[in-house]
Symmetry: C2
Subunit: 335 residues, 2 copies
Amino acid sequence: MSERIVLAHGAGGRLSRRLVSELILKYFGHPVLRRLEDSAVLELSGGRWAFTTDSHVIRPLFFPGGDIGKLAVSGTVNDLLCAGARPLYLSLSLIIEEGLPIVDLDRILRSAADEAAAVGVNIVCGDTKVVERGKGDGLFINTAGVGSIPTGVDLSPEKIRVGDAILVSGTIGDHGIAILSQREGFELHSSLESDCAALHGPVLAAMEHPGVVHCLRDPTRGGLGTVLAEMAADRGVGMEVEQERIPMRDQVRGACEMLGLDPIYVANEGKMVMIVEWGQHEEVLSRLVKYPLSRRAALIGRVVEEHPGMAVLRTSAGGSRIIDLPTGELIPRIC
Amino acid sequence: MSERIVLAHGAGGRLSRRLVSELILKYFGHPVLRRLEDSAVLELSGGRWAFTTDSHVIRPLFFPGGDIGKLAVSGTVNDLLCAGARPLYLSLSLIIEEGLPIVDLDRILRSAADEAAAVGVNIVCGDTKVVERGKGDGLFINTAGVGSIPTGVDLSPEKIRVGDAILVSGTIGDHGIAILSQREGFELHSSLESDCAALHGPVLAAMEHPGVVHCLRDPTRGGLGTVLAEMAADRGVGMEVEQERIPMRDQVRGACEMLGLDPIYVANEGKMVMIVEWGQHEEVLSRLVKYPLSRRAALIGRVVEEHPGMAVLRTSAGGSRIIDLPTGELIPRIC
């Protein structure tokens, strides 16, 4: 490992994973943490609970389709949903840089409150810290969350089986490209918005029949590619997805070509990868497409026996390539 | 309210309270949050749970008696204890500034792990973000925590009654003065260490008989004075403490005189203010003094009928003064 922290340690790729496995898991060995899921699943007094945390450092604070407040609430809600939980309670902790206009903070808090109200989740505790000018960057927000997992729901990479359908709940890359285009000041042909949103509606609808959905992951930092590579490696199965089935907006495709980015590694903030029992996936899709947030949900591939531990992309041109964990620089501070 | 965030908004005094009441509670209205306790108390599936969050931005990262890792774990454990909970699970979320030496991060994580092991609390979920050089300050750590509240335990300012004893679990001001002396580079006559520590041992011992302890608060930012002023105002009772009964190290007294600080407003990170049934307080004290962390626990005053809503200090000189919420500048980034 290098001697100092670099930006890529936080970008969600190979270096992030090394930091966690070589440094953090060296000292914190609880089996629930070792699973490295989006949420910890805890058994408490007869019930099962999901517990998760995320610090949000996105730059800029306001972006097309959302802001850091909406992102903080929806990101934590989505992490709870990945554990099959009904989101109940959130904490909200602010690290504010001296000089932040109070009108900005007001707008961000209102946006967080609106998103929480839409989900029906309650903010029940919080904290506020202020750091000197130049020692922060406007605002960082940590949200931790608690949700209850209904009886019979048990989502985990261990439930993934050969033959399962791989679904994605909509177009990929919208968040990453929207942020990047605003940050770098380039114009897209039409306005592209971040997909930043809490997915409780579509996810709870998809899970109406317990047992049909085997595993959920939200492809945030590191994108769809990272989620597929990690799930294949964690479960020791092969995964195959077809490039042309992956829903993508033209603006995202165009921007990625222009910038030399691979869209499967670009961050999303309102999408879910769902591993679903084959044969039931049409039923799940039919439920998903009724929700505006998952109108473009699609079957993109299957879990296979071949190449265990690896995810493979079948390209539009008829070739195939391994979907590896990204090593190099991803987009920093995307969430 | 001013137009921009200033350091005092985060210092725990009057401006912090205004920020919370005028801005945060404007949007987040859940009755549990409105109580503004150290932990939220949630009723879930028959049991009662405490849920809390804290972001730690202390400067410097290493200080006599601890570091940000130990502080993050013990601070959240102490907040759970304030709700009468047995601390069970913590999250750990890092915001790292690019360039932090990995050896420093390693040392901090080890220290957090040691403190968690000493308490018997498990870190079960986490997050890591990295921000560019100059956009953070080495390391910020958020810890959220979950604990279970045993049947029969019900701590709250509402339980405070006229006549109750006011105890403090040891000397005040150690943390604030230790940080300040290191930061400003002045030498104390003998080495003073922060009191930074998790208080599960003394607190659980003090609470052996449910009902005897009515309310707990850890006097961190804003110190003993802020806790007393807030409790008196929240409950609408009078509080009286005697200056000469408040345990204090000579170095803290000396440094406060030199710097013009009032020690009752200086931060602690390993102390507890306990409101205890009068007549039972000797028994509680006798249990506390068996623990090294609360060896100097003392009775400092009583809850009174006079001057409801106000805390009053009886000075050594025979006078008395109102203990108000501090308005001006406290020590920034003390936790």
